[in-house]
Symmetry: C2
């Protein structure tokens, strides 16, 4: 009970020096004799002193902390992205705070408020919705932002992402090339740029083939397995069943895959299936699906690097947009329509 947390003053007294000298030892700044340093270090360890970063940050105006605000920590795409950001952050000796918004704008606002209050030095943001408002808010508060994975309209901000429109276009072209004409697209919320861009790329490819289907083959839902399941059911129930399913992300694909199996259809014999984002190899399904792979790790690391470039002032004043290349990986879930 009642353990007393010691302060820099206690350490100074114990070591017989001023607090400033202790501070120098802690920060390895300025001059300290070997002898003094040793005494101070002994005092620190004797007292079990842990510096108070609140006080430290208050004075130094830097928390050495950045935040990564994303929409779904459980998605392997994002966990990989996190590792990329983490590695860069720890290389810069920064802490990374993870905030999971669950695709909710309200939660996002709440987290950004807390982050501003905690005075994080910068934010990596995967926006829950396609609005520039949160970005400009952070910027007005003097917090550098890098927008990751998704677009926000008309914001003057650093950004790292892949070209979802182009990716969806290429994937759709690939399916068309196999001979598919009825291709269903299962996508995310209409308000999310990646969901919309993938629709646009899909449409562009279809239009090029003069396939102007109505929108019955496009299903909007959430980036979640249960939603993928429902959307797949929905398009499989259409009078004229599609010959190919294009899931706009890995979780939608996972759910859709179950729906297809539950419907007694086999892949790719009865139906081709492709997806955006690779599927988690470890989890029960072996990697067999034809996918558009995005370099998630690199997205995280490049975004973090951009942020640290801003933080250190080593960045060009103009904002940078980094578009990373995607890769179409053909596996055995896709083939010519029967």
């Amino acid at each position: 009970m009642g353990y007393v947390v010691s302060t820099i003053r206690d350490v100074a007294k114990q070591a017989g020096v001023s607090t400033m000298t202790v501070s120098r030892v802690l920060n390895n700044s300025g001059y300290v004799s070997a002898d003094t340093r040793e005494r101070v270090e002994k005092a620190i360890s004797d007292l079990g002193y842990v510096p108070n970063s609140l006080a430290r940050s208050l004075r130094s105006k830097s928390t050495r902390t950045v935040a990564l605000v994303l929409t779904d920590v459980t998605n392997p795409f994002f966990t990989t992205l996190v590792r990329g950001a983490e590695d860069v952050a720890s290389r810069h000796d920064f802490n990374l705070i993870l905030c999971n918004t669950d695709e909710s704008e309200a939660k996002q606002t709440q987290y950004l408020t807390v982050l501003l209050q905690k005075r994080v030095d910068g934010v990596l943001l995967v926006p829950a919705r396609s609005t520039s408002e949160p970005v400009t808010w952070l910027q007005r508060q003097g917090v550098p932002v890098v927008v990751v994975d998704r677009r926000v309209p008309s914001a003057d901000v650093d950004a790292v992402r892949c070209d979802s429109e182009q990716g969806a276009y290429e994937m759709t072209r690939y399916l068309l090339g196999l001979g598919h004409r009825r291709i269903a697209l299962l996508t995310g919320p209409a308000g999310v740029s990646t969901a919309q861009d993938r629709v646009n790329g899909y449409r562009r490819a279809l239009h090029e083939c003069s396939l102007n289907e109505g929108d019955e083959l496009i299903a909007y839902g959430e980036f979640a397995p249960h939603s993928g399941y429902r959307m797949a059911q929905q398009v499989l129930d259409l009078p004229e069943r599609p010959t190919a399913l294009f899931a706009a992300n890995n979780f939608i694909a996972a759910g859709a895959y179950r729906a297809v199996r539950d419907a007694g259809l086999s892949i790719p014999a009865d139906l081709s299936m492709v997806a955006f984002d690779d599927l988690p190899a470890g989890l029960a399904v072996e990697p067999f699906m034809t996918v558009i792979e995005q370099p998630a790790y690199e997205m995280g690391s490049r975004a973090a690097e951009l942020l640290f470039a801003r933080l250190s002032g080593r960045a060009p004043s103009a904002c940078q947009e980094v578009i990373l290349p995607i890769r179409l990986i053909v596996r055995c879930s896709s083939g010519a329509p029967s």
Copy 2:
């Protein structure tokens, strides 16, 4: 550029009051007239003022933040546990910081250091290894701890978990009851209490049946799919193949499941399979496995409640150990040996 972040002083000046009055408005404490409150609130919103929680916490000696340190954020068992903790935290108007140690003691130490520096008010800890050291360290620094899911030896600390030994015992009894005699156990790292307890429960059940197998049927690995895959391969390659596989957690089960399929065996015809922790329903495998289910959400919420009880002083001075009940859910992955 150069946006100026405003302080409570700026707000006070703008509203023509003292900083103390602004503080009262912010914290809804003390007396403030309706008229003044309105002026202050206008000033706050005009300036886009965001209170500095560093300064606030420094003075008030409370960060209104607790941390949940766990070993694998990607595991649905833990994400569910997180939600339990989150809900309770937000009900108490506290922030929850998530720290992912990846089962590494080094990472755990690093995170705890940062948390102490940031002066979190409390910690929920899923210990990476069975050592009481990190717990006593936190306690000596005056930070209340609740140990979750896993045991640490001889520590005087609040704890919430399930009885892994008993769960494994019951599951093994169940398999023995079906007629299985060669039951392989795929478990986690030897240094983790849940991994070890599950071995102990398994052994107890076997001993009761006078089945004193050597340890060739016990494989130690990591709580991860790739490890489950390898361990399954290992026991499937034994001269006398086991008739049942018992995975000590869901991720091991997911990997083992793939190994079984890759070996061309079918479940439960050729081999029964059971697991500790339910499998993620959403991810490609439908829930079909016989499991010991732990109340993950409740573990998180109860642990958080215990922590807040301590924080508010409303807790009995003696430490509490909460052992939550588990449930054996029989599904179609297990049957009598062929």
